[in-house]
């Protein structure tokens, strides 16, 4: 459940974030930046403001109003959902059981085996239908405990009111424009994660993975024989996504 709320919010944040960027497709480092200062880099796209010199002979319609309302609304929902998720993975044991990799998995030998099987686009074996492999574990941990906190932090660092109460959120990043630039790069990292995530689902078998994600169950009859599967079934791949419902 938290997974799908996050998905919906992520797309809302991505689309509205792009709309906001279009109104000033230039990025800076430090405290300030505007059309009179040298950008770190620019996106070669048209803008929704005539103030910005883009080289295009036209100005796109302004979509910032609703984009900003929706961006912050989706941010609230995804942050609250994320908090619920993080609290739940500590208490349900999902974090220790499924997300933190075991010591044996972190050896170079084990890692290279997993990487090699990924490079061959091999379909995952039976064991992986029940839990995450080491690369999944590491990338999920990175998204949950590095990218998400970083995008929330850099978002808050752009708020003049928030930083008036907690100035260190922005000074530690080198300034408000630095926060904006980092926010942009973290978005790109999250989009890359999403693309790989989608490709992996397709490789693993779209139908069975989607069934598992939506219902939280794995097709038990096919995978396990001679064993009564009851509660255990719901601890599979994406069961966490439904645990908090």
């Amino acid at each position: 459940m938290t997974h799908w709320i996050t998905t919906l919010c992520f797309f809302a944040l991505l689309v509205t974030g792009m709309e906001i960027v279009i109104s000033h497709p230039r990025f800076y480092w430090g405290e300030t930046g505007n059309v009179l200062t040298r950008p770190l880099f620019k996106l070669h796209i048209p803008s929704s403001r005539s103030l910005v010199p883009t080289g295009y002979g036209y100005v796109l319609p302004d979509q910032n109003g609703w984009s900003r309302y929706l961006h912050f609304q989706a941010a609230w929902i995804v942050v609250l959902t994320g908090l619920l998720y993080v609290i739940s993975i500590f208490f349900t044991g999902h974090l220790w059981r499924d997300l933190l990799p075991g010591k044996s998995e972190l050896s170079w030998r084990a890692l290279s085996t997993t990487i090699a099987s990924h490079l061959r686009f091999a379909r995952p074996g039976e064991a992986e239908a029940w839990s995450y492999n080491v690369l999944q574990r590491l990338s999920y941990l990175f998204v949950i405990f590095v990218l998400f906190p970083l995008i929330i932090w850099t978002g808050l660092a752009m708020s003049p009111a928030f930083v008036s109460a907690f100035p260190v959120t922005v000074t530690s990043l080198g300034g408000q424009q630095s926060a904006r630039t980092i926010h942009f790069f973290v978005t790109i990292a999250l989009v890359l994660f999403l693309l790989v995530h989608l490709v992996m689902i397709c490789v693993a078998g779209f139908k069975s993975r989607m069934r598992a994600m939506i219902t939280g169950k794995i097709n038990a009859g096919k995978m396990i024989t001679g064993q009564a599967i009851t509660e255990e079934v719901t601890t599979g791949q994406a069961a966490t996504d439904t645990e908090q419902t």
Binding site: I20, V21, S23, H24, R26, E31, T32, G33, N34, V35, L36, T37, R49, S50, L51, N64, G65, W66, R68, Y69, L70, F72, Q73, A74, A75, W76, I77, M158, S159, P160, A161, F162, V163, S164, A165, F166, P167, V170, T171, Q176, Q177, R180
Partner: protein
């Protein structure tokens, strides 16, 4: 139905009831403590209300970051704006000698101030950042009189909740709550970087609200009114911004 699912159902029901009751109490408390923004209706009401309420609780007395002289952006950016009105050009031709700031509403002594009068009050300055919702920003030294000083002169009545401010451009007005209005960094600014405030940056008189985005810092201010209710201004959303789809509160 097994015992387990019945128990789950009962617990779930109780939790939902408590949740709804909790929300009701929270809404009443929020209303009482002025944590509900005027544009709380509509599909985006939830997000903007959460932002306003939480930031009000965190930032009631916090000070906007101030910078050093060396961090001032030179030259200061003059943003795009609609063409100057004839009324503005007329006053500009007279060197703004006839520029007046009128103050009405819930005050004991409604008044009209000339620029010379405003400049005779304690002169304050701050080096703060102005950040636009579009993403750009600049740092400048703003010189003026704190709005709270003017409010003390006219005597704000205790039931006041908002100050509505109007530009000489009839299509430009906004409002802030008393927490921002009485904040020591909220200025009626008439100077910038040691000089007069240029027209491009809102001269001769600009509202400066440094803890919110640039669009709350309305240029060419000629009129203030103190009120306890924003319903009778425009469409009742607190400023012109929500009528164009922008949020009233712009702490972000």
């Amino acid at each position: 139905m097994t015992d387990l699912s019945r128990r789950k159902l009962i617990i779930g029901g109780l939790a939902a009831t408590a949740g709804v009751a909790g929300l009701g109490v929270a809404a009443q408390l929020a209303e009482k403590y002025g944590l509900i923004p005027p544009d709380h209706g509509g599909i985006y009401g939830l997000g903007t209300t959460l932002t306003y309420a939480s930031q009000r609780l965190l930032t009631r007395h916090s000070m906007a970051r101030e910078f050093s002289q060396s961090q001032i952006s030179r030259p200061p950016l003059a943003n795009e704006m609609p063409p100057l009105t004839d009324a503005y050009k007329h006053l500009q031709a007279g060197g703004f000698a006839d520029w007046r700031l009128t103050v009405t509403g819930m005050v004991d002594r409604p008044a009209a101030f000339s620029l010379a009068q405003l400049k005779s009050y304690p002169r304050r300055s701050q080096i703060t950042q102005i950040a636009c919702e579009e993403g750009w920003s600049y740092i400048a030294e703003w010189i003026g009189v704190p709005l709270s000083h003017v409010m003390d002169l006219v005597g704000v009545q205790p039931q006041a909740k908002y100050i509505v401010y109007f530009s000489i451009d009839p299509d430009w007005w906004d409002s802030i709550d008393m927490a921002d209005a009485m904040h020591p960094q909220t200025f009626l600014a008439y100077g910038m970087n040691g000089d007069e405030l240029p027209t491009g940056n809102g001269g001769p008189l600009r509202m400066r609200v440094p803890r919110q985005l640039g669009y709350k810092s309305v240029k060419f201010v000629t009129h203030l009114t103190v009120t306890d209710n924003l319903k009778n201004f425009g469409k009742g959303l607190g400023s012109l911004e929500p009528e164009f789809g922008y949020s009233w509160y712009a702490g972000i």
